[in-house]
């Protein structure tokens, strides 16, 4: 399974869907740092990205994993509150072959804060 990429928008200026802020480092950069401070599941690579084009839904992340998995974008995330849930969700995603995690096995932030999903390329 695995070979999964967890993309993190480092330019997000919002936290949990709030108003854009001028703080530095930006919430997106803080999200990346918070995730870097944790061990990732085997086969999962963290990738900083400048803008996932979900600016009104920051902080935002994307999960992708090859041509046979659905890709997902999640938003309204908070680097101070949601890192454990993100890691739980990525672990479940990485354990699938198609990216489809059963609804009940998804952390609440993944169930409620999906921005979009894209079908597999194959």
């Amino acid at each position: 399974m695995a070979n999964v990429t967890l993309s993190v928008c480092t330019t997000c200026r919002r936290t949990a869907g709030g108003a854009p802020c001028e703080e530095e480092p930006r919430p997106g950069a803080r999200m990346l740092a918070a995730l870097e401070a944790h061990a990732l599941p085997e086969g999962v690579t963290l990738r900083p990205v400048e803008c996932l084009s979900a600016c009104s839904r920051g902080c935002s992340i994307a999960l992708s994993g090859g041509a046979r998995r659905w890709s997902y974008v999640y938003g309204d995330l908070d680097p101070d509150a949601h890192v454990d849930a993100i890691l739980t969700g990525v672990t479940a995603y990485a354990a699938t072959s198609d990216g489809l995690v059963p609804w009940r096995a998804r952390p609440e932030v993944f169930r409620k804060q999906s921005v979009a999903r894209i079908p597999p390329q194959e």
Copy 2:
């Protein structure tokens, strides 16, 4: 270039970000039918999808094109107003190798109504 997939959410209940409606066929199904009625650019395949998980931003579509292209999701689309713009945008996307169409070459609905984008898998 090409080998691009234009995924269309057929279950979207909204048009152009409005209130969800009960009309049948659903706006998403009408979007699919409207696109099917047009010739697509060479190398572009239309794919109906049940839910792109962008329900509050319907009608929604996604563009993807192999492991080396960025993928994009667009929303707040109207099957009666935006088909020509979508075809223009898909044509430009299909002509790239990485999915990155210069800003000025994107139709206005693609500039203003991006829901999210996901980086290439390679």
